[in-house]
Symmetry: C2
Subunit: 343 residues, 2 copies
Amino acid sequence: MIPTIEWQENYVRMVDQRKLPRKVEWVTCRGYKDVIRAIQNMVIRGAPAIGVAAAMGMALGARSIRVKDPQAFIKRLQDIGRRMRDARPTAVNLRWAVERMLSLAKEYADRPAQEIKERLQEESQRILNEDIESNRTMGRNGAALVPQGAVILTHCNAGALATGGYGTALGVIRAAHERHKDIRVIADETRPWLQGLRLTAYELMADGIPVSVIADNAAGSLMRQKKIDLIITGADRIAANGDVANKIGTYQVAVLARTHKIPFYVAAPVSTIDPTLPNGDQIPVEERDPREIHTLGQTQLGPPQVIALNPAFDITPSKYVSAIITEKGVIRPPYRRAIRALF
Amino acid sequence: MIPTIEWQENYVRMVDQRKLPRKVEWVTCRGYKDVIRAIQNMVIRGAPAIGVAAAMGMALGARSIRVKDPQAFIKRLQDIGRRMRDARPTAVNLRWAVERMLSLAKEYADRPAQEIKERLQEESQRILNEDIESNRTMGRNGAALVPQGAVILTHCNAGALATGGYGTALGVIRAAHERHKDIRVIADETRPWLQGLRLTAYELMADGIPVSVIADNAAGSLMRQKKIDLIITGADRIAANGDVANKIGTYQVAVLARTHKIPFYVAAPVSTIDPTLPNGDQIPVEERDPREIHTLGQTQLGPPQVIALNPAFDITPSKYVSAIITEKGVIRPPYRRAIRALF
């Protein structure tokens, strides 16, 4: 697979996920503002991937700080952190990564600025490496839940491109495939951004994992026809009670799974869990530009001046979630207790 | 509104619904084969509208028959009818219209061919006029179910463009609006063809009825947030037990409506009911070209060689249907008895 994001000599580069799979183009970020813009414009997306991007953005930001005084340095880095954290509201990994970078900087506050800058860059690389490692562990943990010959529905893209590499939901799918489970995947195309059609299908085809794409509208009908055995999605934030914020459409897939008695699993690293929020209704849901619905590239699809509502995420109450697959193990209801035990 | 279909001097013209709302272009059908092609390619769509198109196509077909012998004439017309009926498999209005035209021809079999041809043309116009009239009656019947200030979700386009004019689901919405019920409409964009975004939004905006478009993925989340009061869709075929075939995605909207205790209504003329089928699982569901999913115009959206499944319809079991609104009244469960009483 193409690396989602990587540190180069003195800049960060990301593959432009808006253009995949038609074009493999790289976006170069030389400063933290470039990273914020890339996150906001969805050059890079997926909660763990934007966590990594934020960390690298913080490292880039630190390099641009000219003051030598430790307190002033930290204060400036905190300013950058605030802006980075606000790039998008829903995925908690963004905040998590910023806080981890800030606390490392504070730890080294008495050292020369140059050293802090180097430590921060190393730390951002460590966050990337850890993310890949935890995806692999998650994959191992989750593969046990996948029966031989299963047909797995997934929504959006929770793959290598949504993470440092390997993937959360697609990590579980990859691990099941590597264990010769003879699985097949059905990918919701996932409007409006079509991450399922553009990214999930692309990743799985590259790995030789059988995949078919459907319009999001067909998921329920396939479940009714018993053509889906289980569902795995990623998450953008998980509250302390196990409620899951994830790509718009996840909620209805989960409700349909319940109606049809199909297991609905969420795969996410512990960094996606936000133990500060008692339940999902406190998770901020980003409302994005309506043009994502009614235009495609330069093409206006609907009538001029049409009004569109474009929530980017929805909340799935934990009662619909059969299990949450993390790198620290598979947790099951009651989630509040299980999540407390993880921290 | 633009007329969906109309008989001109010696041809039939239809507005090209694949191009709306960006362009208003007309497709001219000079023979029955042009009509079959227009139905297959979705120049015209919507069960009642393709019923009208089939009737006009039969009239065009009759005009092309050169034999004078009545038996040979009828036989030739039956051949045309078979091909017309097979243009698309799911909407029963197609078969209904063909049979109505054939039985009229048989009634006049002892008259000169020229007279049969004229009668058939008149009959096709009568089918169009009756369809508009029954939509208006359906609207009146259905408007009573719409509370003041209601927010109504609809799926696909069951409007003037899907019928002779006025619409089935949108007919009820229009009638509620005309009665100053202060309604608002949420239109599912309805992938893959985007009939909701392209056609429903366009029709409602032209009539000054407030409408917002959403990705199909957002319907469940809006229901959970209590932002939808009722749902109205059209139908392509209704079995004798009230099971409904309609645009792919209807089934999951109906399941979600049930989960959220929201009424789910279907508006359809009696010609959409197929009393010969005991239940919905006998309704043939058309599988369309996968390119409808993974390309948009000239643009390939997904990876090359991606596999897509593209069922055009799904079956909603009658247990999810709160009521069926017809021109002969609103029927409620148990549907088998209510439907028998209609015929």
